[in-house]
Assembly symmetry: C2
């Protein structure tokens, strides 16, 4: 079972900041910024490539959850990034969809061919 | 009217690679990678902060559209990034929601406090 499924099942601890029937949000253990939260669907779906039309609501729910957490953490006005990594070129490390919510400061960013 | 609303209305040209009733996808004019596509809701919504629960389907549709374009452009297997910039700290430049689909090569990435 993947690490996020184990966190969802409370088999391993995490700093959970939001949870409902469909999604969970946890603090990233290696934060890239003052706010770095991962929003995870409870259902095990490996990557964005594996989402089906049936899961359009779930995909939207992940985005709306991130938006609400940004509001609760008072970073909405200053801004933030929402990032899905997909596969090797995207740098995805855990094969269970997760959305990075990154903010809390002005962010330097560079994305370019390696 | 914002530049993306004008593109949606075909008042200014863009390299449109997908379009339906709800969303449009165009090539970014300043690509950061071999594939750099913007997926835009046709409805003018300034930022992710302005999404409401009524738009959960639309938010999901944007993600699913990006996934389908990645498949059509044959970058699904190698991977890619999906990025929403929000507000000043997120580096959002145009006040109309757009999702960056970035891929086509291994991507170097650094996101850190500036």
């Amino acid at each position: 079972m993947c690490i996020f499924c184990r966190i969802v099942k409370k088999e391993i601890p995490a700093d959970i900041i939001y949870e409902d029937d469909e999604v969970m949000a946890i603090k990233d253990v290696h934060p890239m910024a003052p706010v770095h939260v991962l929003i995870i669907p409870k259902k095990h779906i490996e990557t964005i490539n594996d989402l089906t039309e049936k899961e359009v609501d779930l995909a939207g729910k992940i985005i709306l959850t991130a938006k609400n957490i940004a509001r609760d953490l008072k970073i909405s006005e200053d801004g933030y990034k929402l990032l899905f990594r997909v596969g090797k070129n995207g740098g995805q490390e855990i094969p269970h969809i997760h959305l990075h919510l990154i903010g809390g400061t002005k962010l330097f960013e560079e994305i370019r061919p390696a």
